[in-house]
């Protein structure tokens, strides 16, 4: 029998017919709402033709009746009350759910918000410093014994973050170098200076592009992986389990990952440099009809003794920053899957930001010391 809830025109008679399943709740709810808004002096609830009422709809009816009674409406029944009412009567003694407290508002609220945000920023930097310090201290104190450095773990992470990243880093370095060589050649040709395309590519790739592209790829690949791995371990209480066994999570989880990236980043950078130069050679060969020997000769003149090292020396620093950000954000995950997603995003964004900030700092330092 289909469910029907009808209200008389005078709003003093509610007739319920048929079985009322949970799926009929919206229909019942709408009728009850109309009844409560009408606020009649008395209502008769006709249940003579009612079938079974599920607990959910029964509760909506029960609540509406309690509400109407509370406002002075007298309620009469025709037919037996729904069977769950006896059970539900036990619940009304309990007070209703407290309304969520409205957020307090006051003038200059924006100033308070601004202050709180600044404080949060400050705390975030402080935490990062604290975390970095702990990692360095752990590294310094575990240095004495190979076993404590957890070499198998370090090697595994070098494989995952370094060796497995070679194809993508190589392809990206090659393509970006081809693109920059192409633009360089186009711009320099009107001046008859197209041979300097080689200088542009060589210096650009070796000093900046190679290491920076590698760092951005690694931040996207491994920074996020570190954060997600440690985040899930955190959610699973695995970090607590480690600590309860007397192991130091900085030693077991963080240090191997940091070491791995500090080692893998320079190696990947060498790959990126080589592929970048190859890309430059291929493009200049096609576009400028520059033979291979001449490219090498020009290359020899273009780069100074420090050009290659100016790029490479940045690589371990970038690796350190990426690994630190990833592991730190991972260990900050608490309670929910949404936190995990948020902090993984934060890890990637911040590590790229830090890498570029550090790159700018290197540029200034190299300028000052004429490296």
């Amino acid at each position: 029998m289909g469910f029907q809830a009808t209200l008389s025109d005078a709003r003093d008679r509610l007739r319920i017919a048929g079985d009322c399943r949970m799926t009929d709740a919206p229909a019942l709810d709408a009728t009850l709402r109309a009844l409560r808004e009408a606020r009649p002096a008395s209502v008769v609830i006709d249940l003579t033709r009612a079938g079974e009422l599920d607990i959910g709809p029964s509760w909506l009816l029960h609540r509406a009746i309690a509400d109407l009674r509370g406002r002075g409406t007298s309620i009469g029944f025709e037919g037996p009350p729904p069977e769950h009412f006896a059970y539900l009567d036990g619940f009304t003694a309990v007070s209703a759910a407290p309304a969520p407290a409205a957020p307090r508002t006051w003038p200059m609220r924006w100033l308070v918000d601004f202050g709180m945000r600044m404080e949060e920023r400050w705390r975030s930097w402080y935490e990062a410093l604290d975390f970095g310090g702990r990692v360095l201290v752990t590294a310094a104190t575990r240095w004495t014994s190979l076993r404590r450095l957890r070499l198998p773990s370090v090697v595994r992470h070098i494989h995952e973050t370094g060796v497995q990243a070679i194809p993508i880093v190589a392809v990206i370095a090659f393509l970006i170098s081809v693109i920059s060589a192409y633009i360089g050649a186009q711009q320099l040709r009107p001046f008859g200076a197209d041979i300097f395309t080689v200088d542009l590519v060589a210096i650009g790739v070796l000093r900046e592009l190679g290491v920076l592209l590698t760092a951005i790829m690694v931040a996207g690949r491994s920074g996020s992986a570190y954060a997600a791995e440690l985040g899930v371990m955190k959610l699973n209480n695995e970090v607590d389990a480690l600590e309860s066994m007397g192991m130091n999570p900085y030693e077991v989880l963080v240090l191997p990952r940091v070491l791995a990236l500090v080692i893998a980043m320079p190696l990947l950078t060498v790959v990126a440099d080589a592929m970048g130069l190859a890309g430059g050679a291929v493009l200049t060969g096609y576009l400028l009809d520059l033979p291979w020997e001449q490219f090498v000769a020009r290359l020899d003149g273009a780069i100074g003794p420090t050009t290659f090292w100016a790029g490479l020396v940045k690589a371990p620093v970038f690796g350190f920053l990426i690994a630190l950000t990833g592991t730190m954000r991972g260990l900050q995950v608490r309670d929910s899957s949404r936190e995990l997603g948020r902090l993984t995003t934060v890890a990637v964004v911040q590590s790229i930001f830090l890498v570029i900030l550090a790159d700018a700092a290197f540029a200034i330092i190299f300028l000052e010391i004429d490296f």
Binding site: M22, A25, D54, I55, Y87, V94, A96, P98, L235, D335
Partner: protein, 258 residues
């Protein structure tokens, strides 16, 4: 009486390992049906198969007459609306509050205004004996027992005809476990709910279950609890007549014998 669940010759195989080798049983409406078995006998796999979350290697599973191993998406969705599941470790959505967790299936199935939805959330919390303030909390802020109860509240959100409970009393203190048994019995008696539960709690088995399925050697033995207790299979003897079993059986005599 037409069975709610019909399991016929279900075989589940992982590689060369056969977990279920021709499992058949029926669950009838209004029944509390217990599933018991040692670790690794495939209780969870069986449950997942019945829920339509896993395709059995062979065999059929009918839920309310629909063969869920062959049903199309629409049929499967309709069947899934008719049952509620409380998973073993709650499986609460960690980024939603308890209230939002319980409201989710309701809001998904029908169009109700906020206030009525909140009222229904309040009802489910009361049904499982949780204070109303719990609605504001996140799953990570709950104790293990509260997580279990929230999971049951969410399973009951749509007033289902069929409820699956995976280890509902594991990790509950005896008082909470007893209240839980009473809740299950009440729901069955008044709502004519069918309950399928996987449990190792011998007290819960004794107090609530009408019939018990024991998974042994890839097969299933289904009987009333008294029948199972009297079974001569060595594993069943060990399971039901160990020190813990003997402590639970006086209740069997009182609850089922009388």
């Amino acid at each position: 009486m037409k069975p709610v669940i019909e399991v016929r010759d279900v075989v589940n195989r992982f590689g060369s390992q056969t977990v279920h080798d021709g499992v058949s049983f029926d669950v009838f409406p209004g029944e509390i049906f217990g599933i018991v078995g040692g670790s690794g006998t495939g209780k969870s796999v069986l449950l997942r198969t019945i829920l339509g979350l896993r395709q059995p290697t062979s065999g059929t599973v009918r839920v309310e007459g629909v063969d869920i191993t062959r049903a199309d998406d629409d049929q499967l969705r309709a069947v899934k609306r008719r049952y509620g599941v409380a998973f073993q470790n709650g499986a609460l959505f960690s980024s939603l509050t308890v209230g939002e967790n319980i409201a989710l299936p309701v809001a998904e199935a029908m169009d109700l205004d906020e206030e009525s939805l909140a009222a229904l959330v309040g009802l489910r919390l009361r049904m499982v004996g949780l204070p109303l303030e719990t609605a504001m909390k996140y799953p990570a802020q709950l104790s293990g027992g509260m997580v279990k109860r929230t999971a049951v509240a969410r399973a009951l959100a749509l007033d289902p005809a069929l409820v699956f409970l995976d280890e509902p009393t594991a990790g509950l203190d005896p008082i909470a476990a007893e209240a839980f048994d009473a809740l299950v019995l009440y729901l069955r008696d008044t709502l004519h709910l069918t309950v399928v539960m996987v449990t190792h709690d011998l007290d819960t088995l004794a107090r609530t279950c009408d019939r018990v399925a024991v998974l042994v050697d890839g097969k299933v033995i289904v009987d009333t609890l008294d029948g199972i207790v009297a079974n001569e299979h060595p594993w069943i003897r060990q399971y039901f007549h160990g020190a813990r079993g003997r402590a639970a059986w006086p209740q069997v005599e009182q609850g089922h014998g009388a």
